[in-house]
Point group: C2
Chain length 196, copies 2
Amino acid sequence: MEGRRAGRPRTIDPDAVSLVALRLFDDLGFDNVSMDDVAAAAGVSRRSLFRLFPAKGTMVWGGLAEFTERFRAALAAADAEAPTNEALRVAYRVAATFPPAVVEVTRHRLRVIRANPSLASTGAEHGPELRNLIGDFIAVREGTEAEALGVVIRSATLAEAATSALFWWAAHSDEPPEDVVDLALRIVLSPDGART
Amino acid sequence: MEGRRAGRPRTIDPDAVSLVALRLFDDLGFDNVSMDDVAAAAGVSRRSLFRLFPAKGTMVWGGLAEFTERFRAALAAADAEAPTNEALRVAYRVAATFPPAVVEVTRHRLRVIRANPSLASTGAEHGPELRNLIGDFIAVREGTEAEALGVVIRSATLAEAATSALFWWAAHSDEPPEDVVDLALRIVLSPDGART
């Protein structure tokens, strides 16, 4: 009914559009790319683009829910005998093992978020969610209160180390992201790493 | 020239107005308090209030620049012989030793920010500034690159531990904030603390 022209695909792949948009944002700067630019580069109509992504910022966020779900599932499946910190490190390795098809888009996503601090508020709910998952895991496993200072501090610093590692990877590294996250958590969790 | 009535003070103390505002925000919720409410409670005109604070959010932030300056000065004065992490912990203790007159307002401030994540973006520049101070300090002291993964991760986690400790203090503790920050950094920096 919408008058498709010959050659235009019937369905638009949001992931493909996101990748085009994030490449543009990363290369040219988020503020320098309009929705019209994205529509033109992705070969979709402005109307279709706005139906998929009601605002430019919504193209930047995405994939984080899957990260959190991998993390949650890995914690639920954690070895009951492993030390708590070891179980958390393994769960972060699982979470940071992005499907190969989304590694590149994830790199662009992280670079764009880092370059545009104002975007961070859009995804601000992800930080507390991960911290709460870690805090609850530690509290249950060690029979402490999730609100205790030690649990809050460990949760916040582990989550921060993993997040910083992912941003570092996006800017500096061609290694697999899960290896960089794993190394970062070893630095935080090992006395030698934390002291040198 | 503005027709002052008898009894109205000639100069308005921004700190006193902030305290009144932050108490209201903390007790009633940031979104439930208008600029008119603040002006009425503080006994100042709407016009004077807007001259001091052009937006409601600007009353929430404040005091952080002084925190950063205390931290910066303490790092500059750090014992050259002390281990890097020890020097950082001492500097954070200095920074978190708020002047007695601002301890209460700082508590309200932190509680309001924590309860309103959308406010966090307003003060988003403070986080990177502290992380960069720490990273540069470590890099100079240890002869490494500030961009190295280990330095970035240590900077980010130390800053996060101190920030989380301050928010925890504001919500849960009647101890001096510098003691809570100090304890949090010991948890992060000591192998026993980080592993239990």
